[in-house]
Point group: C2
Chain length 134, copies 2
C-alpha cells in the first residue's frame, strides 16, 4: 500500500460525500466496522460520533483504524486508508457534525441535544481500486 | 450487538447484491478494510479472493473479520456483522466466484486464469441501522 501524499485522483474521490465504512478494534482486538460520514480535512480525515458510543472507548484504547470509501457513482471505484486517530476532541457547539451533515445532506445536524466527539485520522497508507488504482 | 439467528429484515438485506466492506487484521493487529462481494450462504457469508492476496495470509494468521453491508437503495440502511472465517477452501473450477459474479453482475467471472480462494464467515454478532435496526 502506498504512503501519503495522496495523488489528486484519490483526494478528488475523498472530497466527495461518499459512503464509507470505518473499522475500529474492540479491546480484545476483534475488528468492528460501521458505516460513517467522513470529511477530508487538510491531509487528515474527520469523523464524528455520539459521545456515548463504545467505539469512542475503543479508540482511546487503540487508535488504529481503517476506512474504506466507496465512490457513490460506482462502488467498484474505492479507496481504503489505514492509519490512526491522532486527535479526539469534544465537538463543542456541534460545529464538526454540522460540517459533516452539511457536506452530506446540505443542512445542520438535526439532533442538538446529544454531545458528540470528533476524531481525526492520520493516513499512514492507502490503496485504490478502479479509477483510483495506484 | 445481538447474536444470531438473524431476523428476516436483516437476512433480506444481506440477500441482495449490496456494496460491502470487509476488514481483516494485519499480523500486527492493524485493521485493513476493502470493498468486497459477499453472498449469504445458509447462515454464513461467502467471500472470495485472489489466491495471491495478502489478506489470505492475514486470515490464516487471525480469522477474525468484520463485514459492513450498505443497502444499495440507501446506504443509511446498513448491517454490520463480526465473526470469523471458519472455512477457507480453494475455489476449484471457480464455482464460488462464479456464484458471486452472477449474483452481482449476472454472468460468470471473466478472469478464468487466476486461482482463487473462498472463505465463509460465521456470524457471532450483528447490528443494524435504519430499516434493519434491532
Amino acid at each position: 500500500m502506498p504512503t501519503p501524499p495522496l495523488p489528486d485522483r484519490v483526494r478528488d474521490l475523498l472530497a466527495k460525500a461518499n459512503p464509507a465504512v470505518i473499522t475500529t478494534l474492540r479491546e480484545d482486538g476483534q475488528p468492528v466496522s460501521v458505516a460513517t460520514w467522513y470529511l477530508l480535512d487538510g491531509d487528515r480525515l474527520l469523523v464524528n460520533m455520539d459521545a456515548t458510543r463504545k467505539r469512542l472507548q475503543h479508540l482511546h484504547d487503540d487508535p488504529r483504524v481503517s476506512l474504506t470509501v466507496l465512490d457513490e457513482a460506482s462502488w467498484y471505484n474505492h479507496v481504503s486508508v489505514v492509519g490512526r486517530i491522532t486527535e479526539l476532541r469534544d465537538d463543542v457547539g456541534l460545529a464538526d457534525i454540522d460540517r459533516l451533515s452539511t457536506h452530506y445532506r446540505g443542512r445542520d445536524y438535526p439532533d442538538r441535544d446529544s454531545p458528540r466527539v470528533s476524531g481525526w485520522i492520520e493516513i499512514e497508507r492507502w490503496h485504490g481500486w478502479g479509477a483510483t488504482q495506484g
